[in-house]
Symmetry: C3
Subunit: 136 residues, 3 copies
């Protein structure tokens, strides 16, 4: 059985943001056993699972990703949409456009420290759209 | 309900290539609601979702991935299969071997700018095999 | 139809480790056609698919990931849990917390050279917990 829900997130600033509660608020009671697939319909943002407690982790994520894929490199050819655009595409492919999370006894079976991250790679990404599909 | 299809891609040169239409041509009419899982059976290529319009994005992807995981580093030990081999394995794990895309009202529910990329990391990767599984 | 299984791995040293046989030993006979979703409930380790034959590939993975996300950078703010902690979170998001593998004719339909990697990014990560969900 497959159920599908749609979630439009408000605009977030560039950086990594915990959205677990927003995702859960967008779906009704979960089935007993299954998988939740959360998908972002964009190519300059991504989704990931990571540490849900200490905000300094998310600060360092932003810094490390900026080192991994720096802006304004002389060999970039796709530059018309701003210096944050091409790096945001690559960062999006590095984290991926979706996460899949097991559902067990009617709850997301995340580890103790896992939360869903919206990875906003643009300076002004605007509102982002998610498609949530649950199979059970 | 699960349906599965197999697709053998022709050889692509090293780089990032849009294959959305090839994937869609390999499957019959999609179910109303579900998920399409596209999987590549190789360890020196990968699949990703990214920008489907401007080819300069794909040019820069190739350049940036070559900076991320450069060839011919003195600390590499796995070198017998060529200088492009070990970097291709790591790049494959960075983008991943599969993408999962929601299906809504009988269509892939990709964002406006999203397409499926074959990420070919070998100089001569040859034909690549995909397994497409649809659950609905 | 969805079935779910739980696997607690023994402690592995920091590095990349083949766990395909451990995962298969944790589940009963596979269905004819479907997908196996393998999920790790941690934020400082990850799962990936990569080369299953030559151990030198896994040696180089460890070296390359340490270059990608080095320890002890002056701009890190999340440092209380040790120099390997913050890099391990980022590495986890780079490879991801799950792999999804097609099942065909009752077997994991991996390519010839593909195996499941536990990516242990902590010096002492301890036992890691996996959730395996099979849909068919």
């Amino acid at each position: 059985m497959v159920q599908q829900y749609f979630l439009r997130l408000p605009s977030y600033p560039r950086g990594f943001h915990l959205i677990t509660s927003e995702v859960l608020a967008a779906v009704p009671a979960l089935p007993d056993t299954g998988v939740m697939h959360v998908f972002i319909q964009h190519t300059s943002a991504g989704l990931s699972l990571n540490e849900n407690a200490d905000p300094s982790v998310r600060v360092d994520f932003e810094r490390i990703f900026n080192k991994l894929v720096p802006e304004n490199q002389p060999y970039y050819t796709h530059t018309l949409e701003g210096s944050d655009d091409m790096p945001s595409h690559v960062k999006s492919s590095l984290v991926g456009a979706s996460v899949s999370i097991p559902i067990t006894r009617g709850r997301l079976n995340l580890g103790t420290w896992q939360g869903i991250y919206l990875c906003e790679f643009r300076n002004r990404g605007g509102s982002r759209k998610l498609v949530i599909t649950i199979y059970s």
